[in-house]
């Protein structure tokens, strides 16, 4: 077997290798799986002793297949001698002369040291989110939201922030490979051209393209061009987070497939059913912002405040900020919607199973009905089509359509449901009908439902070509692997959740000669050397016409949106016979229900190798670096399980072993697992960590299924959680109240505490007169949804190191701003509150006093400055910080050696070394940049001109920064609100960071029945 593998000559000639991976992947996975039993897959090295692993390594790195074994000692020495001799020779050759030149003519607007911003878009699940990318001397360093883009409005989600790390990820695939051997791009083009000619003779029969969701007009046109040329070829698309159920539901309700666009701004009452509307999805940032617009408590004394009901099984970001949260299993949701529809007077039966929730349903229905045309009901993608159809009917009956929800033609360009599309492909592969498969992006070997046995069937395809950012699981099973250009390296276009088009422009030339999907497709055309740039321009030239093209093009690139490209709103109406066609309700089956969802930080696994996202605590559990089996406290108690106990989750014949995490507020008898982990080939960061939840999925229920089983294994597993303690211990740390309470007591301070936190404790010393600027920050807990975007934006802005699971487990994570999450109320249905904690920038800073070397000192503007160069690392400041916001470099956490990561760093922020304390600086580099700018222009710094990284990214505008000495500044005004309080005010640290108490808007009719809250 080894011989076959090393026989590259036959591969190089284009003769298909028998099989580049003769090692049974399934068996290897099984082996890896079996290893999870005892210790999990802490590292692949653990397996290194096994024969299978060695074989795997050799297949993986054929060049490294043991030379010594094949060669005799004599030959080896000869070779060594020869190579040494050759090495010596090279010294005699003259090195080529390479002249470097300074910029004789500087590029336009290019000032060394000054960043430039370029508008582009970053896709998530195919949908673009408009961004502005900061570029320093030609290298992108930071992603910001594009205020003009409808999905962004200036904010971004965590993925957009982390994309910049993926760009520079040293693990990205860096070469075209055929059977594991590096080949030039032209070799692939030759193969593609040969296939193009061969397949052209039979109308493309046997040619298949597999993509993820495609919204790009150019790419879709390009694929359609190919399909038009080759009518026998087919285009398949699949990714696990898809809208199949929604589309099927819309079709059932309206008779046509449409995409929804919500307008939360117009909704007084919102009901989310198993829908994480504010969470990680293409429109999430926009919706979160619209939601927060309706959470401004002070406006009209709260009269504009909306009310959010959430019905869900496991707490999501949306559920965590809900005013009322009803805990139901996904399979019970349909019964709930029917009960709601019935309560709203629609011709449906109230299912008996909803009897216990009668009061809740009635109250919600009443609230919704009261707000006709100003309410909104949303169901999550995971729920079956029947629920979506019913929700459409409910929205229709509430006259919400066109007001709080409008419908547009599907933004995705491929009309076929993704699940069916993939199944068709698998069936054809199995039947041997596929000759050439072009996998453009995605990672179907990993993400395809387990029962499709995609990997096995894939290997029946004679020529498999893969374009991917990483040489991942799918690349392993393909003949050709083509390195994909990162979106920040390539030209393209993409549509947003509402259809708005953004032209994607590269910020940097491909670091590793990557190619975009467009360029790969071009290889299968008569013009194989066409570049992405030419193709995108060609498409838009044909769309816009030649007239005025250049100025339109430039304008679109500059703005980051193509004006007027948002999809037109479709008028849809509920089918007349909708209620007649309603099928009887399928009762929720008893027993354990398995729920599968994208991971809150690594999504469906595409971000598995992104250290920032791995280390970002999951919004509700604060776990890092792992996925777990989430259980309700009651279920865990029944099974006698503790956090970290390893269980086997069984669904039919599929099973995985996962550590348990008990999640208060989860539905009993459910087990939630997130996708995105357990990837053997994710890279050095994400490889082999966690559990592959896709192994549980099936094509019939890839979002989860009832009838699961849990088996205790008796093993334990160490998890890295950044917040071990979730109770407030009765301390006045978090102020929170209902709108009703706010109206009576606007400070929301607990009894016995002075209102507002404006009183100052007496001091023997005169205070420091802050006569210039006095920087301050206000964080609105009523707006914060706990998404974690601030943390990751801070990581990106301030060159914060990733420390790894072991260090996190030891309590050494480096995040400068953390989001604390506390539970309130009972274990089974608690309320959640999020509290972002950056450095409080105390005026009486306990840390400054104790530093023996003056490494942390106060600025005249009230900043608590950290002088890295002066720090010797006594850690005294961290000990004495009551907020514990200081972070210490216990080791050399920063990667000082990886070349690609050097490009990533923000040049305005020091890269810290070992043994140094660090912490939030209020983004002092941004303050100074604006200060210099203002000084040059001879004016004062305007309010809102300085945005801290956390403020800029925040989807809900919960963080406001500014000069509190300027009475007109937003922060000064916010600090005067009665809701303002200082954290641990009694310590007299006089923090510059203040909080606004959280306000919820519960339905007075439900407040007495607290069990739903």
């Amino acid at each position: 077997m080894r011989e076959q593998n090393r026989d590259h000559s036959s591969l190089a000639e284009g003769v298909l290798a028998p099989d580049p991976s003769p090692y049974d992947w399934e068996a290897l996975r099984a082996k890896l799986g079996a290893a999870t039993g005892r210790k999990y897959w802490r590292s692949l090295e653990e397996l290194a002793d096994s024969e299978g692993f060695r074989a795997f390594l050799e297949a993986e790195f054929p060049q490294q297949a043991s030379v010594l074994n094949a060669l005799g000692r004599r030959q080896f020495l000869q070779l060594m001698g020869a190579s040494l001799g050759l090495a010596g020779l090279s010294a005699c050759t003259k090195q080529p002369v390479e002249k470097i030149y300074p910029y004789a003519k500087s590029p336009e607007e290019f000032v060394p040291g000054q960043p430039l911003y370029f508008a582009t878009a970053l896709p998530l699940s195919g949908f673009g989110r408009g961004v502005l990318v900061e570029s320093h001397m030609g290298r992108p360093t930071k992603v910001e939201g594009n205020p003009e883009h409808p999905s962004s409005l200036g904010a971004t989600d965590i993925f957009a922030q982390a994309d910049i790390l993926t760009l520079y990820d040293p693990d990205r695939s860096q070469a075209v490979r055929f059977g594991g051997v590096i080949r030039p791009w032209t070799a692939f083009v030759d193969t593609a051209q040969r296939e193009f000619e061969r397949l052209g003779t039979k109308k493309g029969a046997g040619f298949r393209i597999l993509t993820e969701t495609v919204t790009s007009p150019t790419l879709a046109a390009e694929i359609r061009r190919l399909l038009a040329e080759w009518p026998e070829a087919r285009w398949h698309h699949y990714e696990p987070v898809n809208r199949d159920h929604w589309h099927a539901g819309a079709k059932a309700a309206f008779g046509e497939v449409v995409d929804p666009v919500y307008r939360l701004e117009a909704a007084d009452v919102v009901l989310c059913i198993e829908a994480d509307l504010l969470g990680p999805h293409p429109g999430g940032v926009r919706y979160a912002r619209e939601f927060s617009w309706r959470r401004h408590v002070e406006e009209g004394n709260g009269s504009r405040m909306n009310r959010l009901y959430v019905v869900e099984a496991a707490p999501s970001i949306t559920g965590s900020v809900a005013d009322h949260r009803l805990i139901l299993r996904p399979t019970e949701c349909e019964a709930f919607v029917r009960a709601l529809a019935a309560a709203l007077g629609l011709p449906v039966q109230t299912p008996a199973s909803m009897e216990p929730h009668r009061a809740f349903v009635a109250a919600v229905a009443k609230d919704l009905a009261r707000s006709r045309g100003r309410s909104l009901v949303v169901a999550g993608e995971a729920l079956p089509p029947s629920v979506h159809a019913l929700v459409c009917a409910v929205n229709s009956s509430l006259a919400n359509i066109g007001k709080t929800v409008s419908f547009i033609d599907p933004v995705g360009q491929h009309p076929e449901p993704q699940g069916e599309s993939l199944q068709a492909l698998v069936a054809d592969m199995d039947a041997g009908k596929v000759e050439v498969l072009l996998v453009l992006g995605g990672n179907p070997v990993y993400t395809a439902p387990a029962d499709l046995r995609f990997a096995e069937r894939l290997q029946k395809v004679p020529l498999r070509i893969r374009l991917g950012l990483y040489e991942d699981e799918t690349s392993q099973l393909c003949h050709w692997h083509l390195p994909e250009a990162h979106v920040l390296e390539s030209w393209g276009d993409v549509r947003a959740h509402d259809g708005t088009v953004t032209l994607i422009q590269p910020l940097i030339a491909p670091l590793y000669d990557g190619k975009s999907a467009l360029e790969v497709l071009a290889a299968f055309s008569s013009k194989p050397t066409l570049t992405g740039y030419e193709m995108v321009r060609q498409y838009w030239k044909s769309a816009w016409g030649d007239a005025d093209f250049e100025s339109r093009w430039r304008r679109a690139l500059h703005d980051g949106v193509v004006p007027g490209s948002a999809a037109e709103v479709r008028t849809v109406s509920l089918r007349q016979d909708f209620f007649q066609g309603l099928r009887p309700l399928v009762a929720s089956p008893p027993g354990l229900e398995i729920i599968l969802r994208p991971d809150p930080t690594v999504y469906d696994g595409r971000y598995a190798n992104n250290g920032w996202l791995q280390e970002l605590p999951k919004p509700l559990t604060k776990l890092t670096w792992d996925n777990v089996a989430y259980l309700a406290p009651a279920t865990a108690a029944r099974l006698g399980l503790r956090n970290g106990d390893v269980v086997e989750v069984v669904a039919e014949d599929r099973r995985v072993k996962a550590p348990v995490w008990i999640q208060p507020g989860q539905a009993p008898d459910t087990v939630l697992l997130h996708w995105g982990y357990g990837r053997p080939k994710a890279g050095r960061v994400g490889g082999g960590i966690g559990v592959d939840a896709f192994k549980l999925s099936s094509s019939r229920g890839h979002w989860g299924m009832p009838g699961g089983e849990l088996r205790k294994t008796g093993d334990r597993y160490r998890l890295a959680c950044t917040q071990d303690h979730f109770s407030l211990e009765g301390r006045d740390i978090l102020r929170k109240g209902t709108l009703e309470e706010y109206r009576h007591n606007p400070s929301l301070a607990p009894h016995g505490h002075g209102g507002g936190g404006h009183g100052e404790l007496p001091s023997m010393y005169p205070g420091f007169p802050y006569t210039g600027h006095a920087w301050a920050m206000s964080i609105d807990l009523a707006a914060c949804i706990g998404c974690g975007a601030c943390t990751i934006a801070c990581v990106a802005e301030n060159n914060i190191a990733v420390v790894g699971k072991d260090q996190v487990a030891r309590g050494r994570e480096m995040h400068w701003i953390r989001v604390d999450r506390y539970y309130e109320g009972n274990l089974d249905g608690p309320e959640f509150v999020h509290q972002p904690i950056p450095c409080q920038q105390c005026e009486n800073a306990p840390c400054e006093l104790v530093c023996p070397v003056n490494a942390t000192v106060h600025s005249a503007e009230g900043l608590n400055d950290m002088v890295y160069n002066r720090c010797v690392g006594t850690k005294y400041c961290a000990n004495n910080c009551p907020y514990k916001v200081r972070r210490f470099n216990f080791y050399l956490y920063q990667d000082w050696y990886t070349e690609s990561l050097k490009l990533l760093r923000n040049p305005d922020v020091s890269v810290r070394s070992r043994g140094v304390m660090e912490k939030c600086t209020y983004c002092v580099q941004r303050i100074n940049a604006v200060r210099i700018q203002a000084k040059r222009e001879g004016r004062k710094i305007r309010d809102g001109e300085i945005l801290t990284a956390c403020q800029q990214v925040c989807p809900t505008e919960a963080i406001v920064f500014g000069d509190m000495n300027d009475p007109e500044s937003r922060v000064a005004k916010l600090r005067k609100l009665p809701r303002t309080y200082q954290l641990l005010e009694e310590l007299n640290t006089r923090p510059r960071t203040t909080y606004l108490a959280a306000v919820r808007n519960p339905n007075p009719e439900l407040v007495t029945g607290k069990d739903h809250a």
Partner: protein, 454 residues
């Protein structure tokens, strides 16, 4: 003191003359190396190499090898620092304060206790350097003139520590060395080897025992004693400021200075006993370090132990009396939190067991006394663990609470400094007279008779 002195026996065994005292003590240094010493020194040296290994790894990799984290930024490093500093205290107390109070019984243990002080301070002094994130920059804590015009932060207790500990080390070393000079001259005169004569000769600084020498010696010694006296109180008070100045519940308490000083003397005497008991037995020095000495030391331990116990009690009382919820939680957490076992062990070893010292029979029972002293050694270490770790691990915001446990390097470094301490101690025993010869001679009846005549 005369009445109890009769009860407790003499401070020097009967039948000794100037010559026998000198012979007996100098013999330890001047005779052949004994096997037991070799064994003890060997073991200590092995422990010392553990220390060197741990420090080597520390310097190469960083202080991440220890168990510290956020929120517990100090662990074994500062626990051990305070523990060693505390141990050092008995030496100064015995040499300086007891000298000024003319407690002649101190004579037979002061040299030894001073040496112990010095070595303990050496061990303690290492930790503040080792615990730095960037130990190579430790000198930044010193106020030295530099081109950057940077000064240390004089408001920081750690800065005060630098002065307190370095002053303490300097004065202790001086005091010890000055006290050694007459004995070094004795060794010079008695040494049979040329090398010994040269080295002891240089160290003796030309001591000839003339009346003028004695006069100057007495003056210098008394002055140094006067200088050291405030140090007994100041050093550990300053160390306690490291905590008392902090705002962490469990640290921020005004009782800390006296409570720390008492604890230090308590720990110091326990350590003196721990070392004296085996040594006097091994080298047959029961005549010089008599039951009376041991009894006195036990009494000092009892008294200081009670002050320490009072400190514990006051912490609990003030937590309740102040009505500060953070303080009361801190006490509750000590009593019932995850480290409650350690707190219970602290109370048992440091408060309950030492109550045995009320009994004369315990104070004169050598093995039992040794056990009590060991218990206090452990207890005082636990006390610092409780103060540092247990206070830090759960402070104000429950979200940032964490846990702490020492790693193998923490233990290795701790054991290693014990090795360093013992190595130095064994070298001291072998190379210098562990009991002050000339001072012992003044205790003899012969000396007294002459005085009376004069």
């Amino acid at each position: 003191m005369s009445a109890p002195a009769r009860d407790l026996g003499p401070i020097i065994g009967p039948g000794h003359t100037f010559e026998t005292v000198t012979d007996k003590i100098a013999a330890v240094v001047l005779s052949e190396t004994r096997k037991g010493w070799m064994l003890g020194f060997g073991i200590s040296f092995v422990l010392l190499t553990i220390f060197l290994q741990c420090v080597a790894v520390l310097f190469v990799r960083g202080i991440g090898i220890w168990g510290i984290n956020i929120p517990v930024g100090w662990g074994f490093d500062i626990i051990n620092f305070v523990w060693w500093i505390g141990i050092g205290h008995a030496g100064t107390l015995i040499s300086a304060i007891l000298l000024l109070f003319r407690q002649t019984w101190r004579t037979s243990i002061n040299r030894f206790a001073e040496a112990m002080t010095l070595f303990a301070v050496a061990c303690a002094g290492l930790y503040p350097i080792l615990h730095l994130g960037r130990p190579w920059l430790f000198y930044w804590l010193l106020p030295y003139p530099n081109a950057m015009g940077m000064w240390p932060n004089f408001r920081s207790p750690l800065m005060w520590d630098v002065f307190a500990v370095s002053t303490y080390a300097t004065v202790s070393a001086l005091f010890w060395f000055v006290g050694l000079i007459p004995d070094l001259a004795t060794l010079r005169d008695r040494s049979t080897s040329r090398v010994g004569r040269i080295i002891y000769g240089i160290l003796a600084m030309g001591w000839r025992g003339s009346a003028r020498h004695w006069n100057r010696y007495e003056t210098a010694y008394l002055l140094l004693a006067g200088l050291s006296t405030p140090l007994v109180v100041s050093v550990h008070s300053v160390v306690s400021f490291d905590f008392a100045v902090g705002i962490i519940p469990g640290w921020h308490a005004t009782i800390f200075p006296p409570y720390f000083v008492a604890g230090a003397i308590y720990a110091g005497f326990a350590m003196v006993l721990t070392l004296t008991i085996p040594l006097r037995r091994y080298y047959g020095l029961e005549d010089f370090i008599t039951m009376r000495h041991i009894n006195y030391m036990a009494r000092v331990m009892l008294a200081t132990g009670l002050v320490v116990a009072y400190g514990y009690l006051m912490e609990i009382f003030m937590a309740w009396y102040s009505g500060n919820p953070f303080e009361s939680f801190m006490v509750k957490n000590r009593l019932t939190g995850p480290y409650s076992t350690l707190y219970a062990a602290l109370i048992v070893t440091n408060v309950v067991i030492p109550q045995l010292l009320w009994f004369q029979r315990v104070r004169t029972n050598i093995p039992l006394l040794f056990a009590v002293a060991m218990s206090i050694n452990v207890g005082m270490w636990l006390e610092r663990y409780v103060i540092i770790v247990v206070s830090l691990h759960r402070d104000f915001l429950p979200s940032s609470w964490g846990m702490y446990a020492g790693t193998i390097y923490d233990y290795g470094t701790f054991i290693g400094t014990i090795g360093l301490f013992l190595t130095l101690l064994f070298l001291f025993i072998r190379l210098l007279p562990m009991i002050s010869i000339f001072e012992m001679r003044t205790l003899l009846p012969e000396a007294k008779v002459k005085e009376k005549h004069a």
